[in-house]
C-alpha cells in the first residue's frame, strides 16, 4: 500500500496520507487542550478542575498515540523533536512534554497541598495547552499542498473549536457536580464560543471560496458547513437557552448542549482532514505553441472554472 503521488491526471486528488488516526490527533488535541485551559481558568475561580484536567491530558495523549500508529517508522518517533526551528509538528511535540509534566504535577501537588499550591503548575499547563492548540492549528495551515488547509483563517477555526469542545465537555463533566449558578459562567462562555466559532467558520468558507480552491474541497466544505452550523451551533444554542428557561431539566439540557457542540467540532475536523483535503493539482498558465497553432490561455483542472 502506498500513499501520496500517483497517476497522470492533473486534477486535484484527495490526500491519502492522513486518515482517521491523524484526525484523532486534532480531535483529541483540540478537546484535550480546551479542557486543560478551561480547568486552569475554573481553578482560578475555585471551581472543580481536577477531573477536567485529567480528562484533557488523557485526550491529548490519546491523540498523540493515534498519530504514533500512523507513522511509517513509529520506532523513530523521537526524531519528531529534531526541527523546532520551522516545523509546527516538532513544536507541538515539544510542548506536549511540559504539558503532561505540569498537568500531572499540578494534580499531585493539589492532591497533597491544595489547589493554591498547584497554581503555578496549573498556569504552566494552561500555557502549554494554549501553545499546543496553536501549533495544531498551524500544522494544517503550513500544509501548502492542500488549499483548504492552508487558508489562514482555518487556524482560528481550529483554535475556536478546540476551546468550544473543551468548555462543552467540561460543562458535561461538572454539570452534575456543580450548582446551577456556578456553572452559569461556563454556559455563557460556551454560548460566546459557539457564536465565535460559527462566525469564524463562515469567514473561513467565504475566504476559501474567494481565494479559490479545488471544486472537490469546496463541495465538501459546503456540505459540512450546513451540518456544522445547524447541528453544531444552532442546536446547542437552542439547548442552552432551553436549559436556562426550563429549570427542572437545566442540567440535562446544558450537558447535551456541551456534548453536541463538542461532537460537532470533532466531526468538522474529521471531514476537513479526510474529505475536504484535495491537493492543488496542476495548472498551466499557457499552452505551448506548436507548429502553426498559437498558444492559448491554459487551465487549472478541477478548480471550477478550469477545463476538466
Amino acid at each position: 500500500m502506498s500513499t501520496g503521488a500517483a497517476g497522470y491526471t492533473p486534477h486535484p486528488r484527495l490526500q491519502s496520507s492522513w486518515d482517521l488516526r491523524a484526525a484523532s490527533n486534532f480531535i483529541g488535541g483540540g478537546v484535550g487542550t480546551g479542557l486543560v485551559l478551561t480547568a486552569t481558568v475554573v481553578a482560578a475561580f475555585g471551581g472543580l478542575w481536577m477531573p477536567g484536567l485529567l480528562l484533557g491530558l488523557a485526550c491529548v495523549a490519546f491523540g498523540l498515540s493515534m498519530v504514533f500508529l500512523e507513522l511509517g517508522r513509529p520506532w523513530r518517533a523521537v526524531n519528531v523533536f529534531f526541527h523546532p526551528r520551522t516545523s509546527w509538528m516538532t513544536r507541538e511535540g515539544v510542548l506536549s512534554l511540559p504539558l503532561f509534566a505540569a498537568g500531572a504535577g499540578a494534580v499531585a501537588v493539589a492532591w497533597f497541598y491544595g489547589t493554591v499550591a498547584a497554581a503555578p503548575l496549573l498556569a504552566l499547563a494552561g500555557l502549554c495547552a494554549a501553545g499546543f492548540l496553536y501549533c495544531q492549528a498551524h500544522i494544517l495551515h503550513r500544509a501548502r499542498g492542500i488549499p483548504a488547509w492552508s487558508e489562514s483563517t482555518l487556524r482560528w477555526v481550529m483554535v475556536a473549536t478546540g476551546l468550544t469542545e473543551g468548555v462543552g465537555v467540561f460543562l458535561a463533566i461538572t454539570a452534575f457536580a456543580q450548582s446551577a449558578p456556578r456553572a452559569l459562567a461556563l454556559e455563557v462562555a460556551l454560548a460566546v464560543l459557539l457564536a465565535a466559532r460559527a462566525g469564524l467558520w463562515l469567514g473561513y468558507a467565504r475566504r476559501l471560496r474567494a481565494r479559490g480552491a479545488p471544486t472537490r474541497s469546496m463541495r465538501a466544505i459546503d456540505a459540512l458547513g450546513a451540518r456544522f452550523l445547524w447541528f453544531g451551533h444552532a442546536l446547542p444554542a437552542v439547548l442552552l437557552v432551553a436549559g436556562w428557561l426550563v429549570w427542572p431539566f437545566a442540567v440535562e439540557l446544558v450537558t447535551a448542549a456541551g456534548l453536541v457542540a463538542a461532537a460537532a467540532g470533532w466531526y468538522a475536523k474529521l471531514m476537513i482532514i479526510t474529505r475536504a483535503a484535495a491537493s492543488r493539482g496542476f495548472a498551466i498558465p499557457q499552452t505551448p505553441t506548436r507548429g502553426r497553432s498559437a498558444s492559448r490561455a491554459g487551465a487549472r483542472p478541477g478548480w471550477g472554472g478550469g477545463a476538466s
Partner: protein, 224 residues
C-alpha cells in the same frame, strides 16, 4: 554558487513516458510510484481542444515546503538546490506529502511487485528496505550528479552526470543544468524562450521551468 534546475520544453514533449520508465528503472521505485511523471492535460472545449503533456515531479524548490514542515530534518535542501530525504531519519509522518504543492512525494508502507507471483530477480536485487514507510521522491538522480561532478563532468552536458529522465527523453524536451552558470544549457534556454513555473502562488520557488513559446526581446514572466 550552483543551482541545479530542470527545464521542460512543452512544445517538444510528446507524452511518451520514456522519462517515467527511465526513472523507474534507474531508481527502482515500486509499482504505482512515479518520481517523474508526465501529466496528460486537455485544454479547451470540444471541438477546439489542445492536448498538452507536462512532465512533473519534485520541483526542488528554493524554499521547499517539505523541508520547512519536516519534524525530523530528514528532508533537506543542499547548497546546489537539490532537495534530499534521509531515509534513515524519516519517520514517515506524511506531513511533507501534504505540504508539497506538486504532489511529488509518496510513502510506500509495504513492498509491492510488478507481478502477483512475487518479486522478479531484478526487483529482488534492487529492493531497499530503507524505502518502506518513509517519504520518497525524485532526487534529480543526485548520486549520478555527485559521482559525475567528482569525475569533472558537467551535469546536463555529460550523460554520466545527468538525471536519467533527461538522458532518456526521445524528443530532447528535458534539459538539466546549473541556473547560476550563464553559459549552461538551462540558462540559455530560459534566456531565449518564454517560460513559466507551475503553482507559483504556493510561494516555494520551484526549480522546474516550462518553455511554452519561442524567443522574445523582453522576457515576460507568466504566473499561473
Amino acid at each position: 554558487m550552483t543551482r541545479y534546475a530542470m527545464v521542460a520544453d512543452l512544445r517538444k514533449c510528446v507524452g511518451c513516458q520514456t522519462c517515467t520508465a527511465a526513472c523507474k528503472v534507474s531508481n527502482a521505485t515500486f509499482p504505482g510510484v512515479q518520481w517523474r511523471k508526465v501529466l496528460d492535460m486537455e485544454v479547451g472545449e470540444y471541438p477546439d481542444v489542445q492536448r498538452v503533456f507536462v512532465p512533473t515531479g519534485c520541483q526542488h524548490c528554493d524554499e521547499p515546503a517539505c523541508v520547512e514542515v519536516c519534524p525530523s530534518t530528514a528532508s533537506q535542501k543542499r547548497d546546489d538546490g537539490i532537495v534530499t530525504i534521509d531515509y534513515d531519519m524519516c519517520i514517515g509522518c506524511g506531513y511533507c506529502t501534504l505540504a508539497c504543492p506538486y504532489d511529488a512525494r509518496s510513502i510506500v508502507r509495504e513492498a509491492t511487485w510488478a507481478y502477483a507471483e512475487g518479486p522478479t530477480e531484478v526487483e529482488k536485487a534492487r529492493f531497499d528496505p530503507r524505502m518502506l514507510g518513509v517519504a520518497q521522491k525524485c532526487t534529480f538522480c543526485v548520486d549520478v550528479i555527485d559521482t559525475g561532478v567528482a569525475q569533472g563532468l558537467t551535469p546536463g552536458v555529460h550523460p554520466d552526470a545527468t538525471p536519467a529522465c533527461v538522458n532518456s527523453c526521445i524528443a530532447g524536451a528535458l534539459a538539466f543544468g546549473d541556473l547560476d552558470d550563464p553559459g549552461s544549457n538551462v540558462a540559455h534556454l530560459l534566456r531565449e524562450n518564454r517560460h513559466f513555473r507551475m503553482n507559483e502562488d504556493a510561494g516555494t520557488g520551484p526549480g522546474f521551468y516550462y518553455l511554452w513559446d519561442g524567443e522574445q526581446s523582453e522576457q515576460e514572466e507568466v504566473t499561473p
